[in-house]
């Protein structure tokens, strides 16, 4: 399993890539494996304001419906429209083409609450037990 070192992770299995004030968000390799084949993504509207840990969308596998929680507060400035036609990008490229939303952060200090790759990897190992 893959946990790129430059990203930060939430305990809800989302990852964040920071580019200036923008947080690019998706779900981790562990999350996509647990979920199974993604067949539908319910993307939020652009412009929506969110508080951290709020549900921002839904990702559906064949068998289950899963909530997506935002790791940071801010305004949604982009969503990945490609996921409407190719939801399985979340499985095949969870950290690249499978990105889900981009958020203009309102409180960058929240990034400090997220886990670095090594800690997230350890957290996942505990969860698997």
């Amino acid at each position: 399993m893959n946990f790129p070192a430059e990203l930060r992770y939430s305990k809800e299995h989302e990852w964040v890539r920071v580019q200036n004030k923008i947080a690019i968000i998706g779900i981790s390799d562990y999350a996509q494996k647990e979920l199974g084949e993604v067949v539908f993504v319910d993307l939020p509207k652009i412009g929506r304001q969110m508080k951290s840990n709020e549900t921002f969308g839904i990702v559906e596998s064949v068998k289950a419906v899963s909530d997506l929680y935002t790791p940071v507060s801010g305004k949604i400035v982009k969503n990945n429209a490609k996921l409407e036609e190719d939801p399985e990008l979340i499985n095949t490229d969870p950290y690249g083409e499978g990105w889900i939303i981009e958020v203009e952060m309102s409180n960058e200090a929240e990034l400090g609450e997220l886990l670095p790759a090594q800690e997230y990897e350890a957290y996942v190992a505990e969860e698997k037990k």
Binding site: A31, E37, F40, V62, K63, D67, L68
Partner: protein, 373 residues
């Protein structure tokens, strides 16, 4: 996101270690530890539609009924005319309660008028056994043989070729809804080969002793390997049956749903003198059902799931009972109960998915046309 589900100390089929060795994602189903998928639900589903797949379904309930009054008992408990079934035939039928409500859907294997085997849903095995036994007189024995017989399903357009290669020696190939057996006592080394399934494709369900099922599984896997046969599990089993609009007990039907609401009227012989549920079903037949179980195919993106409401002209008119994504159609499909007057093919409705109303159409037949079934 929210994940995970722990699988604890529950019943295991004789193939449990095989599933582990294959790296199956396991799940809990009706108190059994079962594989959910090996490689993925969609590739396993497509293997069955295009080539072949083999499933361990040993968890299914099996009830043996023997004796001079075996036919009489089944004639009373089942709504079909059992006496018209010939030896070697297997028939899809139901156990109803006094209200015509469904206790279970099942298949009955006819060995003779004094010997039947019922294959029932795993979740109903104990309930069905108790129900049948409670109606049995002295001249019939009822045995729960669930753990005495292992069961594999081999399904798909190539299943006949695979089975031909897997079984050595001569064997009589049954036609659809029939079975072959060369000795059915439980200590026999023979297998029962039946020609039916839960996928819509051509296929077989094979009963054998628990001691031999691993060997039978291996024979099938080896025979089918270069033909594209895959091991398939319960995840694909569910999406396959859903594409055929086949019901799943406990999801689409239960004791509060009548046989006629589920649109199984053609399986009833109302000319039969008596059977449990006859009066109630006759009354419903005359009055008409107030609701019907139908299929729904999504017209816009979205997946119907159990419990989602069905709307027509802004009014709630039904509820989804099961739903998922169809790998063949690339659309959401589901089954559900709807007010009877809307149970028409191509009727436009809306499914409530979270805060949205998503367009869907009623379907009264299977959603797909299988290659060979």
């Amino acid at each position: 996101m929210a994940l995970k589900e722990k699988v604890g100390q529950n019943k295991k089929t004789p193939l449990f270690k095989v599933h582990e060795q294959l790296g199956a994602r396991m799940t809990l189903f009706a108190g059994w530890q079962m594989p959910l998928y090996y490689t993925g639900i969609i590739p396993e589903h497509m293997a069955v539609r295009q080539k072949a797949g083999v499933f361990d379904i040993s968890h299914m309930g099996k009830i043996e009924i023997r004796g001079g009054d075996a036919l009489k008992l089944l004639e009373f408990l089942l709504p079909a005319r059992i006496s018209r079934l010939e030896s070697g035939q297997v028939s899809y039928t139901f156990l109803c309660n006094q209200n015509g409500g469904l206790i279970d859907d099942l298949t009955v294997f006819v060995f003779s008028t004094e010997h039947y085997l019922l294959c029932v849903n795993a979740v109903c095995a104990e309930k069905d056994y108790s129900w049948i036994k409670s109606h049995a007189g002295p001249d019939v024995t009822v045995k729960n043989v669930t753990s005495d017989l292992a069961l594999l399903a081999l399904q798909g357009p190539l299943s006949e070729i695979v089975l031909d290669r897997a079984i050595s020696g001569s064997w009589e190939k049954p036609r659809r809804f029939h079975f072959s057996e060369t000795g059915i006592t439980l200590t026999s080394k023979n297998i029962i080969v039946s020609r039916l399934g839960y996928t819509g494709e051509d296929g077989f369900e094979l009963f054998c002793t628990p001691e031999e099922v691993i060997s039978l599984w291996d024979k099938i896997i080896n025979a089918g390997r270069d033909l594209g046969l895959r091991p398939c599990a319960l995840g694909a089993r569910d999406t396959l049956r859903l594409e055929m609009a086949y019901v799943l007990y406990g999801e689409d039907i239960d004791e509060t749903v009548t046989l006629l609401e589920a649109r199984f009227g053609r399986f009833v012989d109302f000319e039969k003198d008596r059977f449990i549920g006859k009066e109630a079903l006759l009354e419903e037949k005359e009055k008409g059902s107030t609701r019907k179980l139908v299929g729904f195919v999504m017209e816009e993106k979205g997946i119907p799931r159990k419990g989602y409401p069905v709307f027509y002209e802004q009014k709630r008119v039904g509820t989804i009972t099961s739903g998922s994504f169809s790998p063949v159609l690339h659309q959401g499909i589901g089954l559900g109960l709807i007010n009877a007057y809307l149970a028409r093919s191509a009727q436009e409705v809306e499914i409530g998915i979270r805060e949205k109303r998503v367009k869907a159409k009623v379907a009264l037949t299977p959603f797909i046309k299988p290659k060979t079934g």
